[in-house]
């Protein structure tokens, strides 16, 4: 797990990012999320569509910004992170594409606020899988999904350029 601070909103709490591989209970987690289970105040993201932690931080920063200005489009700050990752404004589609699905086995979790140790231990009881190093999730990325969802031209092959376009798409979304 890695912990970050949002420079713009230092008082909102830290941003914790964890990565789990070989997850077996994605279906259960998804059901509980759909039932608005309060215990699951985390953003569960399919690792396939995460290229870099910077992408997650940008989405989290946007979500916290929206929360503080009462601009949330979704249920809470965590679902907003998942929604923000998507470049479209269709909430259902965004959550389906970027959130976990029943068949997800690699999951990235983002948490706003809370104590790092508590978050870590709570997550290990929630998720049945192996926690892995956050740097590793770039191994499970699915470039073709990323290109499709972010509408990136096939000519673009450079990972840095791709990431630039991804974070730009997330940032431009809040511009009406």
């Amino acid at each position: 797990m890695q912990t970050f601070t949002l420079e713009l909103y230092p008082t909102r709490g830290h941003i914790h990012i964890s990565f789990y591989k070989n997850v077996t209970n994605a279906e259960e987690l998804r059901k509980r999320l759909l039932a608005h289970d309060q215990e699951l105040s985390y953003a569960f993201i399919d690792a396939k569509v995460v290229m870099d932690r910077f992408q997650l931080l940008i989405a989290a920063n946007d979500a916290v910004h929206h929360e503080l200005h009462s601009l949330l489009k979704t249920y809470n700050v965590h679902s907003e992170i998942v929604y923000n990752l998507s470049p479209t404004t269709n909430i259902n589609e965004s959550l389906r594409r970027f959130g976990i699905s029943n068949s997800s086995t690699s999951i990235v979790v983002v948490k706003v606020g809370g104590n790092a140790e508590e978050v870590k231990s709570h997550l290990s009881t929630l998720i049945h899988g192996d926690e892995a190093d956050v740097g590793e999730f770039s191994n499970s990325v699915d470039i073709s999904s990323i290109k499709k969802y972010y509408k990136i031209d096939n000519k673009v092959t450079d990972q840095k350029e791709m990431l630039d376009i991804i974070v730009g798409s997330i940032a431009i979304k809040s511009v009406s």
Binding site: F4, L6, E7, L8, P10, R53, F54, L57, I58, N61, D62, H65, H69, I152, D153, K155, V156, L163, D164, I165, V167, G168, S169, A171, I172, S174, V175, S176
Partner: protein
Amino acid sequence: MIENATLIKQGAEARIHTAPFLTRTAIVKERFSKAYRHPILDKKLTARRVNQEARCLFKCRKSGVDAPALYFVDTEDSTIYMEFVRGTIVKDLLVTNSEYIQNKGKQDELAKKIGIALAKVHEIDIIHGDLTTSNLMLRESNQSLVVIDFGLSYISSLPEDKAVDLYVLERAFLSTHPNSEEMFTEILDNYQKTYNASQWVLSKLAEDYGDEREVWNVQCGTQGKVIHRASMFKLNEEVTLASTIMSSSRSYNTKVFYGPPKCEPERSEEIIEKGCDMEYWSDPVGVKKIER
């Protein structure tokens, strides 16, 4: 405002800072409000410009033009966060770097990059609006040409607007750099090779924008008091926006003036009345009017 920000530049429209941002370094461009503008107009104009700048910047980046990556847009604080590009401003290169001053090969190489980048920008119908050598950079890591500062950018497919961009760049070159004519020719040459529809732009550049281009001042106010002022190359939506707001406020005797440089609202006897509650400046060359 973000913590640990360092002011690096203060312009007429915005302040530029650098600051640590989510594990990286960002350029923070904050537009501030103008005291002489009507508060409502100021808010609308600033919000619109922030949005427009962010959109043009992102559109360029997405289409393969090297421009700073967009990180975050804070509409509430009129601030844009973007990638901090390490590199050198083209103007500094041409003025201080002896390699670029003396070596024609180096100059041609740079001109080629500029021409191609410009062609790509115009291909997606973005008009940069302030194309000078201060707004072009060479990236330190891969020597790619980076277009910066989209603060005056807008979307237009008109060859006239694109020609203005080229004209502004030509002026910037002629005024500051040695061998500038050759370099600008090289830029146009590469622009032409890369951009399919360049012939329309180049013919406009040749016919319309010789030395006749003027900067217009737009002012609007109530009863002789100026509350909004701006300079621009042509009458654009700002005038329309200002006049809409002025007329919707229903205040009697609201005026929108516009005219060439050094126009003063006090020269009211020269104002030609055209509408019920708005009056216009005329240009000494010919009257231009806003359709309402």
